[in-house]
């Protein structure tokens, strides 16, 4: 094998020119680099990819959440005109399983399926409809087994084992101080049970990509993902190829939010391409997308808080149970995160936290924006309100009184690093003016809860206000060697200096490539910057997850620029001047005077530096759940104002206000976009979004039945952005993408409680809970009636011939 070869033998697709952008330095309003192609419809997403002679791939999925497979017969499908390949587990040449933390998920199932929608066989054909029809001709003999769908049941000794390792995927205990002693001395104790439903990332661009065989046994994959190198390694393992034979290029990504961390169609498309010797495109439709990626873990959480009469927290006890679904995905890290953030950003001298992650036959769960911090924040903030109520204290005051501050220790033993402005952000949201109360009667119907379809004119509408605060780790934790690579090249093109930045970091819409260019302009005093398409020709950038890319890839780009600058100054010192050097607008300046232009200094020479930036080492938690597990913490507080029609259970969120510490606002408009968009997803979890599951089967795999907020649901956001520098981080910045999604949900629910007086211990909050018909939705959700949806359980048995 030609291991040293990193370029494909035949360039399988023309590499697009990286657009040159100007201007905008760090902290300045900078238009996004990909904005113009996106508004013109010219930006190429992974579902837009097209090549002459390409085939379409399709996936046969299990209709059963739990079954033995006795046989798979593909003969009839193979004989269909237009079908070029039908593959099963027998055709996976390398490792037959994959997974980010635990390789436990079959590339294609054999012997057993563990969730509805698990991939069983794949087809390549010359038309997508032919491929879909071929799926119907594959005959799979299943022996249907009872699904294990309750994590509490899965924990029991006599439960059927879904994996050889058992059903417990991870358990974390955090023991801090002496809870028994503290509980004996508490004046006030509040407890509660809280529940979070299964949320979907619902990115709009479906899972899709194009695999192109290189004619020499290797493959090029054009793909939307969050981490090219981790995809590449898993794909190569399963194809039985060296990583060098599998080259990945990032295609346009239509949102991610954690849902593209795991593989979806990557290995499948490559298998089909290598089998047929032709390019193969796969693109899921929306229904398949609900089966094609992991979801946010549903959680059941039991909490007890004890405090003194004057509101000082003495202890927290919590038992967290997460449904990991059928395969591991990133559940182990979610379990750890949830355990460490279980008490919230409060000074808690004694704590006992149990966090359990279970395998079940429900859909696999994994990463979604907020990653374990979202679920516990809903619970600990509900507890804080309950405690404030019990104490007769203002909920904001109780939070401020107990807010963490630098120097004390979190319950998992790590010292709170500065800055940790929890008190400040709470005070800021408290000080913001409330939106004016608007007369309900006679109002434009569009501004009432429920909008124009409401049947009241506002008689039962009550207003409520709620607060919440949350926090999140930034970057990968618990001993993971987290790094990013950046290559920066400075050259003179057409008489002007140009910086090229090459990383493998995934731009998923958040604006990373714009920030990379801002950093280069700031560090190198050069206006024109081109960010190359991310691919695996350069070292790993790590994942676009954990709000880490601006920090990690930002730091790598910054350091590479600094090294390029040092080499330029070296040349300047040799030939011109050596005092007080700087680069301004393409000129070398010494003591304020221009000494030489970059164009003259470099001529035809290129200066290139590649940097691998590793963040400070972190530690795994020990057996008592103690350790310096996290790199950085980011905090955000929210205040929600709602209007509730207490008779109909309809809600209008009037406003969400937030204060968030970001360290440094790298690109202020993009940052606001992260805050507003993150709050929208928090609002979705509070009021609308849940994948409903009945006996392991998804009931609402469509945007008709899984509702994400529309422009009518989302209120205006009032944001106050604090820039308190983290001395360890590049430019002092803190990751900013996730904090908006964490406390926005509990703030909205707190406002609903304020308006209704009801407990509302489960999200999403449904109308029947608001009006008090039920504290929880019925355990058997109503069956959607139409023919289309009843077919969801029979993906391979449809009648659309």
């Amino acid at each position: 094998m030609m291991i040293e070869q990193t370029e494909p033998a035949t360039p399988t697709r023309e590499r697009p020119d990286a657009p040159v952008t100007t201007p905008g330095k760090v902290g300045e309003h900078t238009e996004r680099a990909d904005g113009v192609p996106k508004v013109k419809g010219e930006f190429e997403y992974s579902s837009d990819l097209w090549m002459d002679g390409m085939l379409w791939g399709a996936t046969l999925r299990s209709p059963h959440p739990h079954a033995n497979i006795w046989s798979i017969d593909t003969a009839e499908a193979e004989e269909m005109p237009g079908v070029q390949a039908v593959l099963t587990h027998e055709d996976v040449p390398g490792r037959k399983v994959y997974g980010m933390e635990v390789p436990d998920q079959p590339v294609l199932a054999w012997e057993r399926v563990r969730y509805q929608g698990e991939a069983v066989a794949i087809v390549a054909a010359d038309h997508p409809e032919t491929a879909r029809r071929a799926l119907e001709k594959i005959s799979v003999q299943y022996e249907v087994l009872d699904p294990l769908t309750d994590p509490e049941e899965a924990m029991k000794e006599d439960a059927p084992r879904l994996h050889l390792s058992g059903n417990v995927l991870k358990r974390i205990n955090i023991l801090h101080g002496d809870v028994a002693e503290a509980s004996a001395s508490a004046d006030v104790v509040v407890s509660g049970e809280y529940e979070v439903g299964m949320q979907d990332q619902a990115f709009l661009g479906p899972e899709s990509g194009l695999a192109v065989p290189d004619g020499q046994g290797g493959v090029d994959l054009y793909i939307s993902t969050q981490w090219l190198h981790l995809d590449r390694d898993q794909v190569a393992d399963s194809l039985g190829l060296d990583p060098e034979q599998v080259r990945l290029t990032l295609s346009g990504v239509g949102g991610a939010f954690g849902g593209r961390e795991d593989l979806s169609m990557q290995i499948h498309a490559c298998l089909l391409a290598l089998e047929t010797g032709r390019p193969v495109k796969m693109a899921y439709n929306r229904e398949e997308s609900f089966f094609g990626h992991v979801h946010r873990h549903p959680a059941k959480m039991r909490y007890e808080h004890g405090a003194t009469r004057d509101g000082e927290l003495l202890y927290v006890k919590a038992r967290l149970v997460f449904d990991g679904g059928a395969y591991a995905s990133s559940s182990i890290a979610v379990c750890t995160n949830a355990a460490t953030f279980a008490c919230g950003p409060y000074e808690v001298p004694n704590a006992r936290i149990e966090s359990h992650m279970l395998y079940t036959n429900n859909p696999p769960c994994g990463a979604m924006r907020g990653f374990g911090a979202v679920q516990v924040c809903f619970a600990h903030e509900a507890q804080m309100d309950k405690l404030a109520n019990e104490l007769g204290m203002d909920p904001l005051e109780l939070r401020i009184k107990n807010a963490v501050r630098p120097g004390i220790r979190f319950p998992f033993g790590q010292e709170v690093p500065p800055p940790a402005p929890v008190r400040v952000i709470l005070e800021r949201v408290g000080d913001m003016p409330l939106p004016e109360e608007e007369e309900v009667m006679g109002r434009d119907l569009r501004r009432l809860p429920g909008g124009v379809s409401n049947v009241t004119h506002g008689e039962g509408v009550r207003r409520g206000v709620g607060y919440a605060v949350g926090y999140k780790n930034i970057g990968f934790s618990a001993g993971f060697d987290d790094y990013s690579t950046a290559r920066v090249t400075l050259s003179i093109e057409e008489g002007e200096p140009l910086v090229r930045i090459h990383t493998a970091a995934a731009e998923v819409g958040q604006g990373l490539i714009t920030v990379e260019a801002q950093i280069a302009r700031t560090e190198l005093g050069v206006e024109r910057v081109a960010v190359l398409q991310a691919d695996t020709r350069v070292g790993s950038a790590g994942s676009t997850s954990a709000s880490r890319q601006t920090y990690m890839t930002g730091a790598a780009v910054k350091q590479a620029c600094e090294q390029v600058r040092a080499r330029i100054f070296q040349k300047v010192r040799e030939e011109y001047a050596d005092e007080d050097l700087a680069i301004e607008d393409g000129d070398i300046v010494s003591g304020g005077e221009s000494v030489v232009s970059l164009a003259e200094l470099l001529g035809g020479e290129e200066i290139e530096e590649t940097v691998e930036f590793h963040h400070r080492e972190t530690e795994p938690l020990d057996e008592r759940g103690q350790g310096n597990a996290h790199l950085q913490f980011a905090f955000a507080a929210h205040r929600a104002v709602v209007e509730v029609d207490t008779e109909l259970g309809l809600v209008r969120v009037v406003e969400v206000a937030t204060a968030q510490d970001v360290g440094k606002a790298m690109n202020p408009q993009a940052l606001e976009g992260q805050i507003e968009g993150g709050i929208a997803q928090g609002l979705g979890l509070a009021l609308l979004e849940e994948i409903q599951i009945k006996e392991g089967k998804i009931q609402n795999a469509s945007f008709t039945d899984y509702l994400i907020p529309t422009i009518l649901d989302m209120p205006s956001v009032r944001a106050e952005i604090l820039e308190l520098a983290d001395p360890e981080a590049p430019y002092g910045l803190k990751g900013a993408g996730e904090p908006p999604t964490i406390a926005s949900t509990p703030a909205i629910v707190a406002a609903l409680r304020d308006a209704t007086g009801r407990e509302l211990a489960r999200v999403p909050v449904k109308p029947e809970q608001i009006v008090g018909i039920a504290e929880k939705p019925p355990s058997e959700p109503p069956q959607p009636g139409s023919r289309g949806y009843s077919g969801i359980g029979h993906l391979d048995e449809r009648e659309e011939h």
Binding site: K38, V39, G255
Partner: protein, 154 residues
């Protein structure tokens, strides 16, 4: 079947079209107009919005055969030559674009709204764009973009 229709002012033909194909599929996969997007393909998200004989439609819900002989304007036909249309310019400037997958549909839907109502109120903007899902922005900057475009076009 053979299909003949006018797209962005030019006559186009596609051969071998299967009767079950949507207008969206034919635009994207047969005629080289991938700007209209395939986020849900069931008429819920608006990302495939185009004009069909001047009427805003979800192209995923139109059978390709229904577009025979008719005029289609896609997001690729909104710009005025090399210049961005003011709606497009406003989306870029106001930060109404993140991942951008909803953007083509919102550009066409906003173009339609401002053609009918050059000075919409916020309530009217929200009502008109309620059929276009966006997962990234929280819609605030989209509202800003529509207001900015309306101001510039008046």
């Amino acid at each position: 079947m053979r299909l003949r229709l006018n797209i962005n002012g030019e006559t186009r033909e596609a051969d071998g079209v299967w009767e079950g194909e949507s207008l969206l599929y034919v635009l994207r996969e047969r005629l080289g107009f991938p700007g209209s997007k395939n986020a849900c393909e069931q008429g819920e998200c608006g990302s495939c919005s185009v004009y069909l004989d001047g009427v805003l439609v979800c192209s995923c819900l139109v059978l390709a055969g229904q577009a025979e002989g008719r005029e289609v304007v896609t997001v690729e036909g909104i710009a005025e030559g090399e210049e961005l249309h003011p709606v497009q310019r406003a989306f870029v400037e106001a930060g109404g674009v993140q991942c951008g997958f909803c953007t083509p549909g919102l550009i066409v839907a906003t173009h339609d709204l401002l053609g009918r109502n050059p000075d919409p109120t916020d309530a009217e903007i929200r009502e008109a764009l309620a059929g276009n899902l966006c997962r990234c922005t929280g819609y605030e900057k989209i509202l800003d973009a529509v207001r900015l475009a309306a101001e510039r076009m008046s």
